[in-house]
Symmetry: C2
Subunit: 189 residues, 2 copies
Amino acid sequence: MSEEVFESQLLQKIDMSDIKLPPNLVVRPLTIEDNENGFFELLAQLTKVGEISVEEFEARFNQMKNSKCYFVLVVADEEQNGKIIGTATLILEQKFIRQCALKGRVEEVVVDESARGTGLGKYLVLACTRLSKQLGVYKTTLECAPHNVKFYEKAGYSDAGEKYMQIRFLKALKIIKRCLKKTYFTDSK
Amino acid sequence: MSEEVFESQLLQKIDMSDIKLPPNLVVRPLTIEDNENGFFELLAQLTKVGEISVEEFEARFNQMKNSKCYFVLVVADEEQNGKIIGTATLILEQKFIRQCALKGRVEEVVVDESARGTGLGKYLVLACTRLSKQLGVYKTTLECAPHNVKFYEKAGYSDAGEKYMQIRFLKALKIIKRCLKKTYFTDSK
């Protein structure tokens, strides 16, 4: 069996019986072999991905797995040799507030162009949401483009009434990212 | 020396010389003894904290420390026996997108009532922001109340143009949080 980024038994604990998927689709944790199954090509439909070597992928995979806080879900299509046609990630954030609570974040939700409009995105968001509840978070949040608000409202989310602010370091990134990222996490495996 | 939630040398690598703090204030990582220095009382000025036992605090502290992704800054006032009068947390989020990038999140920014308006909040936000840049993130984000937008704009942040959505599980939390949180992280130390 392939190495998984989180224990697949956790998925069996959530009830998804209200949403049917075609029998050729399998929802499971990301595995360490999925870089060969179109995972990066799918992510590239969401944003920039770049060239990721096998070593870089496996290093990040292992960091995520060891942290126990990254629940990267993928949907594989068995009729297309296991090609990954959907993904979404639940991240657990640790807090001191609210009695040392956990908070969930849903990130990187993307469905392959060929499978949009089939309910797969909703399935992934609900799976992340129900998994976060199962794991005991006090709330789960996400950021989305304004035109996706209705989609997430149908999955139970509502506007939190807060502003989402950012600061970008793209220029600095080009200069320092590689060396710093690697040295910073080198001894964290 | 007290055990710190992250290596304090990292703070020495960022330049904060443009903002002066009174000489009685020390900015440093959270230590495992800080539950006795008013850390929870300060957090309670931000949101609900509840009763946290020493064991719960130390367990969360160690989880954060071991993950290497939680940079909890505190400001201690030496004229008040080291009482903590400010805190802010930078969290590193791991990505596959953007060439396995890191992303920063600024969370739990709070300054004691007695010290508001002194520039301490701005100092903490800039320290988190500069630390995130030093660690090689491609961007750093935060969520804030609409009336705090100008404060964060002065620190270099701008509206990301995305909606911040949430789903809350307070009722479920009361029932399942304790057992699930503890069993889930039990073997992660």
